[in-house]
């Protein structure tokens, strides 16, 4: 690339300019800029090493590109605050105490819908995400995506420069290039102008679009998401004539029937739903009570795993079941398919009446949604457990059709200028649209996004987008509540937000902040605007923007009479689902998420084709064996409509027979060094008529095998009798009935050692004694704690190869245990942190006293004393210790230096590490209390996992304080210590799982018996 482009390399020179001290790099920079390797780095095209951070080869290559980091070194120093006023930073400068983090309220859009977050900022560097308790879609909880939000900001593969056909340009160049074709559109009323965005809930952006359309009457705006919600919207239209959003209130529901609705992960309000769900799953006291949850689903989800009764039906069979239940409840529908569960479930729902609730998942056809609405109405649940409001998104429903229409126009050549904002259709659009070829027919294509992705590669212009943590904006939550998105840091690179880019089409040059304020000035009115504006920024929500509930009646319609739509096609049924870790693929380059063990399969760094044991047998058996370098499993070719992909087969207990589940979001080609070339691309099978699945799938084993990095042994535990886990009393669960009969039922399942058994006198813990309880009844296995811990404690990503070798580094793992039959087992999630045993086996064996007890009972790890004998890990009965077998920390990538939590030591090669009970947070609380001259109060120390947990299953506190929440819980009847018979005296204890099965359900009795 020729010399004149070098000055316009935006990152580096800008970064350098911003920090006076770095001027001396100028010379070397020019030399560097000449080096093709360096330019390549700026283009961040790493096809050959797009594997993992930690792949040593990759890193060595990276070292050769150190030139780049020299340039970027400017960055780490230039965490400049945005020029605009954000609160409370500039208004109250006295709040900025070096070394003390500040928290700002903002929001992340997940699939378009707002989730309120608080961002922890160290000296102007956002480092950690917490939930915003005041936000209705968070209530203080977060999910893995929210936690990884901050990693997205520092993703080294983010777009840093404006590109024209892959060559670097400036924003000036772009605007110049835009002028002429835009004028042309102006002339013809914008008939050739099209906009494609993701699902939009931003009022400001909607307003901008309106004015744009006003300026270009012929222009059209399409918004579309791979994770479409067309079914629920269409269902609402069937039932009520308008695409309303159903708002559920789990805390009011005694009986919940989910028809393939994954309330744990697959709903815009999941965090709130989990909170409300968990609130009703913690039975205590003399008369324990809890809700009862039925889940009918084809592909196992965390929701099904947390339910009392889980019915595995193929997606296509659920409608028949729904109609049967509806009929039992007196809803006039035909086409019910008799099922043994229908009557008892209906009876249970009826018994609960207004305190019952039916919820239908996106993967179900509109008719089932309509039936769900009808049942809720029949139960009188409307107004009690469910209410209806306007949808939060600007264009509700019909996303798939509108995308199809757009593509059609592209083919006809109608589209002359296409602006794609924050969407990646080339990768994710239905394969039958073949959008890639259609794009080529558009003469002027602009792509604006965080990454130089598949779509960017197909566009003339690629515009780097500012990360939400760098830009101003606003978003609506599913219930309508608006949050102002405020930047925590000035853009790291020369990037613009969507608002700013759109402005270029009308007003021209404009700052996101001005656009936003202008809009809200109109919306909120001039009257004490500043005050309300500041309040909104401070709280993270704009007061009074939640939608009003609508009074609606279900209209009878064809949906009622029409029988169950027959499963289309023959052969097996395929189900497409968003991935629990990388969602629809947008997070593919985030190592934290790639390395996250999926809630049920515990697979990392891959997606697989999930099948039931029976289906596996029909396919001629699926052989999966655990080796020292990972799980070796068989490959199969999945063919749908003549399109086929090769995928690893994986047997998942509880999967519906005759169906195959594949997760989206993998097989990306331009995700970056982490996400490219990982897994297989399920979108390659996903057609417009099969957004969530359909029949007609052919599966043929190729005879090949592949390596999968799975963090738990394959479910069969083939080597050991299946009852082992129970014999060991690791997981303890009883039914509500058993608990009511005998409040000590859970404790009686194991043997607690008699007190005073030890031959040594116990150590005295005066002052604080920290401890933790984890409620297995509330835990839904969402993994938020795992990612939160990874973010808080600077835990490295080690890559697939190392995970396969059993060297993953996460300090918390969520163990998954099955009991009962592989066909439909009970599933339990057990988060395992360090137990901080008072008689810690690890400490005794450490030769250099690198792990010792603090006087508050913490099992401290002294990194700089550790010599790495691994003896402690060997002797840890819980195997919670993690060892840096190789140099796992990335010391070279500059942006990661900004990501790290300055309060936590960054570990290097050769030392052991493990959960510290977030000792840095304890210290912070202690210092604060000292300054105020008082004791630490209960709830002032909140560990990262506890803070993130949407189910509030984790409680941390002082066990010496009898009034603390944790002491009360430990005194409760469900409390038990894991492997307590070893006399380790764990400080972390578990609250046994309680399930509330309906005795009238066939097989429920037996399930009641199979407790852990």
């Amino acid at each position: 690339m020729s010399q004149e482009h070098v000055p316009s390399t935006p990152v580096t020179l800008e970064g350098v300019r911003r920090t006076g001290g770095q001027r001396r790099y100028w010379k070397s920079l020019d030399e560097l800029a000449d080096a093709p390797a360096f330019l390549e780095f700026l283009h961040r095209e790493f096809p050959e090493q797009a594997s993992m951070f930690q792949d040593p080869k990759g890193r060595r290559e990276f070292m050769t590109l150190m030139g780049a980091s020299l340039a970027l070194a400017g960055l780490t120093a230039c965490t400049k605050q945005p020029e605009e006023t954000i609160l409370p930073y500039v208004r109250q400068p006295e709040q900025l105490v070096p070394g003390r983090p500040l928290f700002f309220a903002t929001a992340t859009g997940h699939d378009g819908y707002a989730r309120g977050i608080l961002v922890e900022s160290h000296e102007g560097r956002p480092t950690k995400i917490e939930g915003n308790p005041e936000h209705p879609a968070s209530l203080g909880g977060t999910d893995v995506f929210g936690q990884a939000h901050v990693l997205g900001l520092y993703d080294p593969d983010r777009s840093k420069a404006v590109l024209y056909l892959g060559q670097q340009r400036t924003w000036g160049d772009f605007k110049a290039a835009l002028r002429e074709p835009l004028a042309k559109q102006q002339a013809k009323g914008g008939t050739g102008l099209r906009f494609l965005t993701g699902r939009n809930t931003s009022p400001t952006l909607a307003a901008q679009m309106r004015s744009l359309i006003a300026a270009f009457p012929g222009a059209k705006w399409t918004s579309w998401e791979p994770a479409t919600r067309d079914n629920s919207r269409a269902g609402a239209v069937l039932a009520f004539g308008e695409p309303v959003e159903a708002q559920y209130r789990f805390e009011r529901a005694d009986v919940i029937l989910s028809l393939e609705a994954d309330f744990v992960a697959g709903h815009p309000a999941s965090l709130r739903l989990v909170r409300e769900f968990a609130a009703r799953r913690k039975p205590a006291g003399e008369t324990p009570e809890m809700s009862r949850v039925y889940v009918v689903e084809g592909s196992p989800t965390s929701s099904g795993a947390s339910s009392d009764h889980r019915l595995a039906l193929k997606s296509s069979e659920i409608e028949g079941f729904a109609r049967a239940v509806a009929a039992e409840l007196g809803v006039v529908v035909q086409g019910g398919v008799a099922h043994a569960w229908a009557a008892p479930v209906a009876k249970d729902l009826k018994r609960a009446g207004a305190r019952a609730l039916v919820m239908v998942g996106e993967s179900q056809p509109p008719a089932v949604h309509a039936i769900g609405h009808a049942i809720n109405e029949a139960l009188g649940a409307v107004g009690s457990t469910v209410s209806y409001t306007a949808p939060a998104e600007t264009a509700a429903g019909g996303e798939a059709q509108s995308l199809a229409a757009l593509v059609a126009e592209m083919r006809q050549g109608v589209v002359e200028m296409l602006v794609i904002l924050g969407s990646n259709p080339v990768y994710a659009a239905p394969v039958d649209l073949d959008i890639a070829s259609a794009l080529d027919k558009v003469p002027f294509r602009i792509h604006h996004g965080l990454g130089n992705d598949e779509t960017a590669a197909r566009s003339h212009w690629h515009l780097p987008a500012s990360h939400p943590l760098e830009s101003w904006g606003d978003l609506r939550a599913a219930d309508g509540t608006v949050s102002i998105v405020q930047p925590l840091i000035a853009p790291l690179y020369h990037t613009l937000s969507e608002l700013e880019v759109l402005a270029a089409f009308t007003e021209g040059e404009q700052k996101g902040h001005e656009i936003l304020r202008a809009h809200w000035q109109d919306a909120l009115g001039a009257a004490d605007f500043e005050k309300r504006w500041n309040r909104a920024l401070h709280d993270g929500v704009v007061a009074g923007t939640a939608f009003e509930a609508k009074a609606l009646r279900v209209k009878p319609g064809a949906w009622a009479s029409a029988g169950a739509t027959p499963p289309p096609g023959s052969g097996l049924e395929i189900a497409f689902r968003t991935d629990p870790a990388v969602f629809d693929g947008r997070f593919a380059n985030l190592g934290w998420l790639q390395e996250l063990p999926k809630p049920l399969s515990k697979i990392t760094w891959d997606n697989v084709a999930l099948v039931s044991p029976k289906t596996a047998a029909e396919l001629g058996g699926v052989k999966t064996e655990q080796t020292a370098s990972g799980h070796v499993t068989e490959l199969a070719e999945l063919t749908l409509d003549g399109r086929s992909v090769v995928a690893p087969l994986w047997v998942l207990p509880g999967h519906a027979d005759g169906a195959v589940t594949v997760h989206l979001g993998y097989g990306r080609t331009r995700a970056g060094r982490v996400g490219s070339g990982v897994g297989f691309n399920a979108y390659a099978l996903r057609t417009s008529d099969a957004a969530w699945g359909r029949g007609g799938l052919q599966v043929r084993k190729t005879g090949g095998t592949t390596l999968i990095a799975c963090t738990q042994d394959h479910w069969t535990m083939d080597a050991t009798p299946h009852h082992q886990a129970e014999e060991r009393h690791i997981v303890r669960s009883v039914t509500l009935a058993e608990l009511a009969k005998d409040k000590h039922a859970i404790q009686k399942l194991g043997h607690e050692p008699a007190p005073g058994l030890s031959m040594y006198p116990p150590h005295e813990y005066k002052g604080h004694a920290w401890g933790m309880t984890i409620d297995m009844s509330a835990c839904v296995g969402c993994n938020a704690c795992v990612t939160a811990c990874q973010s808080e404690n600077n835990i490295p990503v080690v890559g697939k190869d190392q995970v396969g070798r059993g060297r993953e580094m996460q300090w918390i793992r969520v163990d998954r245990y099955y009991e009962g039959t592989p066909e439909n087992p009970e599933t339990y999630h057990q988060p395992v942190v360090c137990m901080h045993c008072e008689n810690a086996p690890c400490e005794v064996v450490c030769p250099v006293a690198a792990t010792v007890h603090s006087d508050e009972g913490l099992n401290d790890m002294v990194y700089n004393r550790c010599v790495g004998t691994k003896y402690c890990s060997n002797n840890c009965p819980y195997k919670v210790r993690r060892f840096n077998f190789l140099l796992y920390q990335d010391w070279t990538t500059p942006t990661f230096k900004m990501l790290r939590n300055p309060e936590v030591t960054v570990r290097s090669r050769g030392v052991m590490e493990k959960c510290t009970y977030c000792v840095q947070r304890i210290s912070r609380a202690r210092i604060d209390a000292k300054n105020l001259g008082r004791e630490i109060r209960d709830g002032e120390v909140v560990t990262a996992c506890e803070a993130a947990c949407p189910a509030q299953a984790i409680v941390f506190g002082d066990v010496n304080d009898p009034e603390s929440r944790v002491s009360k819980l430990k005194a409760g009847d469900r409390n038990y210590g894991l492997l307590a018979e070893l006399q380790t005296k764990p400080r972390t204890s578990y609250l046994g799982a309680v399930r509330n099965p309906n005795p009238e359900i066939p097989g429920a009795g037996s399930e009641g018996q199979q407790h852990g």
Binding site: E838, N839, V844, A849, V852, K985
Partner: protein
Amino acid sequence: MSRPELYGLLAEFHSPEEIVKAAEAVHAAGYRKVDAYTPYPMEDVLDALHLHKTHVPKLALAGGLLGLAGGWALQYWASVIEYPMNIGGRPFNSWPAFIVPTFETTVLGAAFATVFGMLLLNGFPQPYHPVFNVKSFATASRDRFFLCIESRDPKFDRAMTRELLRGLGASEVSEVEP
């Protein structure tokens, strides 16, 4: 007094029996500044010359006790007095754990005392010694047996002593220069 021009007389014998007899006779004759040189340890020679007493055991005992006390003190002081730490909830003075290192230090102390005591008592290292001046003495480490009567011995008389040794069957009696 001036250095004697003679260190002593060195008699060479060919068999163990001869050297034993010779040693007994020499001792009976009242010689005390006598030493025998044999290619392997010979109890009878020691008996004959009454050379049995050795101080090595005392040294070994002392070294052992030193190691014992030192080892225990080190551990007790380090883990109870100087830097007590709560390790695995065990008491600071976990004496059963201290037994092992203490045992080892005891053995070590005794071993050092024994070896270096032995070398010391033998006057090692000693690169020079008059008997090395006798050419044939090299065979003392092969198959010859030597008896040396020093001139410092009050009964020593160059002619008579030589006769005595000859009489005992020494194949050769050579004069040892100091």
